[in-house]
């Protein structure tokens, strides 16, 4: 009977956090708010330190930040937007680090919660990206932007009848949802996975009965912690890359 005593907490208990300040108001400040603020200030702090060092031969934080900026420039902007996209480097670099740090709190002790596993974080980011690429498209191509994005060139007209609704759906309706849900789902799943193995390890440890079995869930927990760090970086990279691709499409249009 004791095996059944493993008590998995209700989902609301591991995702909804009690307010730390301003409880009960519309600006109730809880763990998620704290994590997003820390993510923002950590990113800013890194750049301020790097910018103040500004040595010819970069070391320490400056080296790390410059390597990151180079990474965003070469692996994301250059591939997805071309040389024109360089002006978007601050936005994309900031986005990348904000998501990365928000994700990484999944494995940071005492927090152990990725802020992005709450829809409140990826949703506004995705909406921001959605608005950005539409505004850029209209600025660059005028209202032709909508025609250019949903009517692929060189396609026979009878195919267009099927293709245009699909393009409208994928570009202007599905994109923001896909962007937000991809990040949210991955981080939520990771969080619950870690939680499951933690609860399992803890229950076995406390009950004593499963001490022989303990190494297995604990090993999984350890391995998954490493894996979730990788996922945190990967999801930040995917979100930023897709943002760059969408803005890059809006910049180019079909003429180039």
């Amino acid at each position: 009977m004791q095996y059944l005593a493993i008590n998995f907490p209700p989902i609301s208990e591991v995702l909804n956090w009690k307010p730390l300040f301003f409880g009960g108001s519309a600006i109730a400040f809880n763990k998620i708010g704290l994590i997003t603020l820390i993510a923002a200030f950590a990113t800013l702090g890194m750049f301020f330190i790097a910018g103040r060092q500004a040595k010819l031969v970069p070391v320490g934080m400056q080296n790390f930040v410059e390597a990151s900026v180079d990474f965003v420039n070469n692996s994301i902007i250059h591939d997805a937007m071309g040389p024109e996209g360089v002006t978007w480097a601050p936005y994309l670099t900031g986005l990348f680090f904000f998501i990365l740090f928000s994700n990484l709190f999944e494995v940071i002790p005492f927090f152990q919660m990725p802020a992005t596993a709450r829809m409140a974080v990826p949703a506004p980011l995705a909406i921001g990206v959605y608005i950005t690429f539409i505004v850029v498209g209209i600025k660059r191509q005028g209202l032709n932007y909508f025609k250019n994005s949903v009517v692929p060139s060189g396609v026979p007209s009878f195919v267009l009848i099927i293709l245009i609704p699909i393009e409208i759906l994928s570009t202007f309706i599905v994109r923001p949802f896909a962007l937000a849900i991809r990040l949210f789902g991955n981080m939520l799943a990771g969080h619950l996975l870690l939680l499951t193995f933690t609860v399992l390890s803890e229950a076995l440890f406390v009950k004593g009965i499963g001490l022989i079995l303990l190494p297995l869930p604990f090993a999984m927990l350890t391995a998954l912690t490493g894996y979730e760090m990788f996922v945190a970086a990967l999801q930040a990279f995917i979100f930023t890359t897709l943002t760059a691709v969408y803005i890059g499409e809006a910049l180019k249009g079909e003429h180039e």
């Binding site: 009960g24 997003t36 603020l37 990113t43 750049f47 301020f48 410059e66 900031g94 949703a123």
Partner: protein, 176 residues
């Protein structure tokens, strides 16, 4: 009103976003973007661009220095070749001069030798004549001497023959 907010903040649906969390995440991200774009990113970008331009300038300078060095090297090589040609020319000239001198000296030496030979030949002849004259005088002396001894040794006929033989032998030994 408060109840509505409370209801929203206490949302237990794990998928739907809660309003206060949206507010704070938007505040955080907006703050990050504004400060990053305005203050934090430009110095980093400037440092990187400064480095890029410095490296480019250094490469350009190095390239220019290399070209200059190549030019100077070519110049030196040309000068070296010129010097070699000059040295060859001087050597050739010296060889020619020495050849001329050698011939000149040789000719003079031959002339001197011929002159010497000629002079010595004259001296030899006169010496020979002198010797012959002396010989003749001695022969005459000897002949008289023999004649005296022959007369003195008239008593012993046989002895005179021996004497004559002896003197003739002496003369023969003296002849050149």
């Amino acid at each position: 009103m408060a109840n509505i907010f409370l209801a929203v903040t206490q949302s237990t649906n794990p998928i739907l976003p809660s309003i206060p969390e949206i507010i704070w995440s938007v505040i955080s991200f907006t703050l990050l973007m504004v400060l990053l774009v305005k203050f934090a990113f430009p110095p980093v970008k400037a440092a990187m661009e400064h480095r890029t331009s410095k490296i480019q300038t250094d490469i350009d300078h190095a390239e220019a220095a290399r070209h200059e060095a190549e030019r100077v090297l070519a110049e030196y090589k040309e000068q070296l070749n010129e010097a070699k040609r000059e040295a060859t020319r001087i050597l050739e000239e010296a060889r020619k001069t020495s050849e001329v001198l050698r011939r000149d000296l040789l000719q003079r030496a031959e002339e001197e030798a011929a002159e010497l030979r000629a002079r010595h030949a004259g001296a030899l002849v006169s010496e020979r004549e002198r010797v012959l004259l002396e010989l003749r005088q001695q022969m005459a002396g000897l002949a008289i001497d023999i004649a005296e001894r022959v007369i003195r040794a008239e008593v012993d006929r046989g002895a005179s023959d021996v004497l004559i033989e002896q003197y003739l032998g002496e003369i023969g030994a003296m002849a050149p």
